[in-house]
Amino acid sequence: MNTDSENFYTQIVNKLKNWARINSPWVIHFNSGSCNGCDIEILATLTPRYDVERLGIKLIGSPRHADVLIATGPVTLQALDRLIRVYEQMPDPKYVIAVGSCALSGGVFDGCYSVIGDLNKVIPVDVYIPGCPPRPEAIIYGVVQLLDSLRKGTKPSKFIVPNDIPDFILKEKINGND
């Protein structure tokens, strides 16, 4: 009886923890050699048109406060140490999202002498978002995929966000102009 009720309480606490984690991912952004394209699009997700705060996502500055690391760029040798340090400074549990072709494979910079090329060689990545750069919608979709996998209780299996999000905004605009 005693152990049962204990189990019950731990279950509830765990559920609550998980719920909180899903609903409050604080994100830190690190640029390790990106061309800015991805960084701008990440920043754009904060702005009125996309507004990720409605999902509880908050972009913060200190790695100590962060849950999710969004890294862009092909990991240059100079940024390597910092990237690892930022990752290590983050308290557990922590997740990593790689944004942009460069962080996936090196992109156009693959094979350059001062570039490692694949974020996964340096730190474990949970979600990849391809695109050069991915649209803000794709980035939000990637984060939501991470949250979904948390909801299911699994650490996200390597999930790659498809890059075929329809350009509904454009079509709307042009059609509206007719």
Binding site: L77, Q78, Y113, S114
Partner: protein, 170 residues
């Protein structure tokens, strides 16, 4: 027409140091000078308020070998100092050999040149005399000394390690 006037006045200023010159484009003038004269050339340009320093470009001219692997022409480095005045561009070109790649720093004349100088020091291995700052600017901290990525002989860091190992094996 102004451009041509600018170029002519520039040529006039620099006349006594010119070793050879050419005009590859209507708004450009390339001037070869000897490395010793660089400072006086730049000084006269600055004093006459002829344009501003756009950048310093480094070029690597690798050594040429004949079939028997004998060096016909030793490897050279070339530094190009681009000065622009509206549309007119004067390029001052200095050639130095690999063995003694020494050029006078022009930072005391043009303070902003330090960034360009650090760049060519790192990437080409120029030896800029009296340049105020030789700390690494662009390359990673872990970069090995004496390896200049923009020289033609450099291919890749991994290859560098392989060839080092091979040398030690020999």
């Amino acid at each position: 027409m102004e451009t041509i006037k600018f170029l002519e006045s520039g040529k006039l200023i620099l006349e006594k140091w010119i070793e050879s010159s050419q005009t590859p484009d209507e708004n450009r003038l390339d001037i070869w000078i000897s490395a010793n004269n660089l400072k006086s050339v730049v000084q006269s340009l600055v004093e006459n308020h002829w344009g501003y320093l756009v950048t310093i470009t480094g070029l690597d001219i690798p050594a040429v070998y004949d079939q028997d692997n004998v060096e016909i022409q030793p490897g050279q480095l070339e530094a190009l100092y681009h000065f622009a005045n509206d549309a007119a561009i004067i390029t001052i070109r200095v050639k130095v050999p690999y063995s003694k790649p020494q050029i006078d720093s022009i930072c005391d004349l043009i303070p902003s040149a330090t960034i360009y100088e650090r760049e060519v020091i790192e990437l080409f291995g120029f030896d800029l005399l009296n340049t105020p700052n030789t700390e690494k600017l662009i390359l990673p901290d872990s970069w090995p000394d004496g390896v200049y990525p923009l020289r033609k002989s450099f291919t890749n860091l991994q290859d560098l390690e392989i060839s080092k190992k091979e040398q030690s094996n020999d």
